[in-house]
Symmetry: C2
Amino acid sequence: MHKINLDLKENSYSILIEENIIENAGKHLKSLKLGKKIFILTDKNVSPLYLNKLMDSLDDYEVKPIIMEAGEHLKSFVNLTKICNFILSEKPDRNTTLIALGGGVIGDLTGFCASVILRGINFVQIPTTLLSQVDSSVGGKTAINTNAGKNLIGSFYQPKIVLIDPNALQKLPEREFLCGYAEAVKYGLINNREFFDYLCKNEKKIKNKDVETLKYIIKTSCESKAAIVEADEKEKSGTRALLNLGHTFAHSFEKETGYSDVLKHGEAVAIGMVMALKFSIELGHCDKKDLELVLEHFKNMGLPTDLSHLNLPANLTKTEIEGNAQVLLSHMCGDKKNENDQIVFILMNAIGESFLSRNTKKDDVLKFLEQNLV
Amino acid sequence: MHKINLDLKENSYSILIEENIIENAGKHLKSLKLGKKIFILTDKNVSPLYLNKLMDSLDDYEVKPIIMEAGEHLKSFVNLTKICNFILSEKPDRNTTLIALGGGVIGDLTGFCASVILRGINFVQIPTTLLSQVDSSVGGKTAINTNAGKNLIGSFYQPKIVLIDPNALQKLPEREFLCGYAEAVKYGLINNREFFDYLCKNEKKIKNKDVETLKYIIKTSCESKAAIVEADEKEKSGTRALLNLGHTFAHSFEKETGYSDVLKHGEAVAIGMVMALKFSIELGHCDKKDLELVLEHFKNMGLPTDLSHLNLPANLTKTEIEGNAQVLLSHMCGDKKNENDQIVFILMNAIGESFLSRNTKKDDVLKFLEQNLV
């Protein structure tokens, strides 16, 4: 078993990575001294695979499952209200626990509910997708979406423990796997060139879902994220913002495609990272060779690298391209990282050397978007 | 000017108490380096009195007021959603500020909105009622109500500064003044016998709203609350729970009267404190003399001391009384302080010597309620 400790003073917790950990969850929760009542939030895709196993391991508790539809639309004020009202009707106390069993959507929504019920009840993450295992389950960002954009309402709220079963990835649809993989590559691009090289060297093993390789990828990703979160839990110094590499572009693409299955978050991030790299080259920060390496690895792995996912019609006029670029730019203007009307970007000096840039001009972004929309 | 510093590490802030501070708010906000965008949340009762003055003092900023209806029903999921969506539509960033201008309802709702928009934007409290000045504006508890009860959804989220204008109390309806006064007396009952004696000695001055006396009461109350919050910001050790003296009873009465004007929060707290004192005597913790002192002071000041506010019909049968007591007890069972199905009460050994009791038997509460319902 891999164990990673996230040191956040009174909010510290452990990330445990072990095959079949879901059916042993009860054992790992014991030391946390949780209250009797546990609610498990999961979705219709995940519950047939793991809910019974998880509930069997929790027979010392009073467990109630809440099974939701699947999809990004779950993260809404309406569902927040529904779930909170349901749990309150069951008379929870502050020792009551909410377990998120599923991917990033379930984790984000469950964590936000846990953070506001009685001003905070226990929260446990059991991520079952690669994306949630390497990224969203660690670090305590919770959120819902609104018409104005993705993750614009939420809280910083740390789980009591994160239980990661790498075997869950064997059952994951290929597209979901790749979405998570994009976030794993991200850690290499941010500050770990060695990890990026490891990934490039192990493309076959990763595609074949070799368990030891996957465990190493999850472990390295969680360690990278843990170090960044420890340095800047609430995204105040700028360090944590590095985790948003590719995300400023990604969120604007996702907004444009209505957070739909046309473009999944991980795909948007993959394209967004390529865009951030291209933009960094455009601004003179980074060498073209790094882009070639990233493009080659993404293509070998099957990750998207351009905006063909946006389903823009072919042969756009100049005016149409400018209009589309304006729309994407306006989406970026609502980004949480922004300060005083300036768009904050994560740019790259090289693979493994990302940095936060506060003084990007809107005109430069617009010009760049126009050039890269087709 | 009185200045009280609340030391909560990176969440530390000051409470400033000064006559006419509202019209000088801009001056006091300057050192906080807030972003350009400020939203002021207030209600229809408060806005005619102070909104223009406040806005005039903020002409260095882009200020938008949001004027709500008045009343406890404001604290709802529906209004949370509405306000968050409105502010998000104005493209805030993390330096954007939300000012609560009003009483406890406005403060609780505004603080909760501020805590979840972009996972936390700046929050400033300008309390205009005695209740919010001595209690709810200090300490960072934010909340909304649900069908299951009062303040069951919320967050711990500290303001950047609290600006208190004691002159605002001159314009406060008498009933509102008394509601706040009940929370001020509470600090005397919790751990400050000297303050309770001061209040008893100064009944006339308080009734006449002598400004120096009021300032002293606000200052002492804020200092008391600050010390308790510093010791236990997130209500984990039990120290902060002392601030809930009288509130377990109060919340059940309020729930029973539908959080309506039949029984206001401060009135419920006044009755709740008398009940906590009587219950403490019943359980052998406290001397009857203390009850007499409290009853005398409450009566002199015009605070309610019994359940006549609940509008129970006269001549209830034994079965009806038992039924009513059961209902009140069931309301208490949803209290946030409860742990593992035990009702947690704040009880008193004497005036100024309150303590947290975790092992109160439900049967004792029931018997006590039955005896005190008529």
